[in-house]
Amino acid sequence: MSEHHVVPLKIYFLIFFALMIGTVLTVGAAFVDMGFMNTPVALIIALVKASLVIMFFMHVKYSHKLVGLFAVSGFFWLCIMLALTMQDYYTRGWGEAPPVEFLKEGAFF
């Protein structure tokens, strides 16, 4: 078992530092009005933070490819669920009544 990769201390603290920066960024960004980009920016920062945790703290960068495949598949299936559910809600009333309120407002897009 000795060949398991020991991550250098420097990397751990660097990642921790990056995660802190990400936290500051996400709180800061919340107070800036970026229009329709508000939520995407928050989600992108969260995704970057999550990837850092997964790659380094959870050692996926140093593990077998299969482990990475498992991790990706979880998020991929979540995207399937979101995409196919939202395609219903975004198209409710198409060709019937006038578009529902949120299509005009646009929370995400």
Partner: protein, 226 residues
């Protein structure tokens, strides 16, 4: 003939495995498969959240304004720090730094985890006093958001409590696992040759951290520029 029941092999691999390496890989892969199901377990909540966030933008903004960014940010920092201490615990097991080191890092992780839960308790009590618990006692009246009605506001708080509640439950289980790991270290069951239990407990802990990384902006930081 080799009798697998009698542990003719090295101390730390179970009879169904042919080698310690196979056992280590199986355990981490198994934990990852479990994390995949956790992603979809929370994923169901995120999916429902997305639907309502899009339907009731105003109400979600209003509800979010009643959550305290200070506590939320503090908890984010605490949880990320606990991930670092957890990673350090795994690393000290890997590098044979002795049981004292490992236990030290594990205790640090537990303390940070409990801090998180304590802050959560403070926040929950606050919501209780403001009648924002989403059961039949829920009350809603916010002059800053006159268009927001009780129903959608309640739905926001349902998500807040179910999502953070499920997350907190995972934290509590995590703290329990850490205590178990401390017991394992004290019984000298952990070494650089065999640190699988700590490694996979760490995977679980980091996953719980990741859930919070998404919950924080999605619940606390909606439409703050208003």
């Amino acid at each position: 003939m080799s009798d697998h029941a009698q542990g003719a092999h090295s101390l730390h691999h179970l009879h169904q495995f042919e080698s310690a390496e196979q056992q280590y890989e199986s355990a981490t892969l198994g934990m990852w498969a479990f994390i995949v199901q956790e992603i979809l377990f929370f994923g169901g909540l995120f999916c429902a959240y997305t639907v309502y966030r899009n339907t009731y933008i105003e109400a979600f903004t209003a509800g979010s304004h009643h959550l305290d960014i200070f506590w939320g940010t503090l908890n984010t920092v605490v949880l990320i720090a606990s991930s670092l201490t957890m990673a350090m615990a795994v690393r000290s097991a890997q590098t044979n730094s002795g049981p004292g080191r490992i236990i030290g890092w594990l205790i640090a992780t537990i303390i940070l985890g409990c801090t998180f839960l304590g802050v959560k308790a403070i926040e929950y009590t606050g919501k209780w006093h403001h009648h924002l618990i989403p059961n039949s006692t829920f009350q809603w009246n916010d002059p800053a958001f006159p268009t927001v009605t009780l129903g959608p506001a309640k739905i926001f708080y349902s998500f807040y409590f179910v999502m953070t509640g499920m997350h907190a439950l995972h934290m509590i289980i995590g703290v329990g696992i850490m205590l178990w790991m401390i017991a394992k270290v004290r019984r000298n069951e952990i070494s650089a040759q065999y640190f699988t239990p700590i490694e996979i407990s760490g995977l679980y802990w980091h996953f719980v951290d990741i859930v919070w990384i998404f919950l924080f902006p999605l619940l606390y930081l909606i439409g703050r520029h208003h």
